[in-house]
């Protein structure tokens, strides 16, 4: 969790390893539009210590399913302008299937359980985006994330 610009290259370097043949990096970027609104920027609020623990939980869940995967997660707080990254996930594995799956799993799971909130500033107003009720023990939600990642 950081208030500074994210660095996808640094995340990828963290997980690189001579035995890993695949690195998949997911970068979530602030878009200029959402639900028909012209977005100006986003402000991210977070419960940072719990967010870091949520990321560790997500990495643990991924490691249980794909033991060879190494995962790095970065997430912004504060104002993030259009075109800037709000989240970076790097997943490395010996083979590509696991790297793709772990990266996708992580972003699905972040949206489910990371205590982070988008405050959208759009042309004409602002709104808190509210997605999922966070419950890390909801195994159905976790399984949905696994299914989206690997099917």
């Amino acid at each position: 969790m950081t208030g500074s610009p994210l660095n996808a290259t640094a995340a990828a370097e963290l997980v690189a390893d001579d035995g890993n043949g695949a690195i998949v990096t997911f970068v979530g970027v602030v878009r200029d539009g959402n639900a028909g609104r012209r977005v100006l920027w986003l402000d991210y609020e977070a419960y940072a210590p719990l967010a870091v623990k949520a990321f560790a939980r997500i990495a643990g869940e991924a490691a249980e399913r794909w033991p060879s995967v190494r995962l790095a997660i970065q997430h912004r707080t504060g104002r993030v302008d259009i075109g800037e990254p709000s989240v970076v996930i790097a997943a490395a594995a010996p083979h590509r299937a696991e790297a793709f799956a772990a990266s996708r799993f992580a972003i699905e799971r972040i949206k489910q359980i990371a205590p982070i909130w988008k405050h959208e500033h759009f042309e004409g107003g602002e709104v808190w985006i509210e997605g999922a009720t966070a419950d890390p023990h909801d195994t159905a939600a976790r399984d949905t994330a696994f299914e989206r990642a690997w099917s």
Partner: protein, 81 residues
Amino acid sequence: MVVTIRLFARLREIAGASELRRELPEPATAGTAWAALAAEFPPLADYATAVSCAVNEEYARFGAALQDGDEVAFLPPVSGG
């Protein structure tokens, strides 16, 4: 007992504070802390079925017992990513 209550995003705006200290009658749970808060700030009731909670920086159930000095956080639906 006295607990620290942390609020985020829209809940923070409704209460007008990100952190509150409140005295609760014993025995107290995260759920009784939420009920006291919702009595104080009625618009919080909209979140009754959607709010999550954490005690001392760990996700917890609303039935989780609180101790004097605990930090209990209430979280509206999340939207990271």
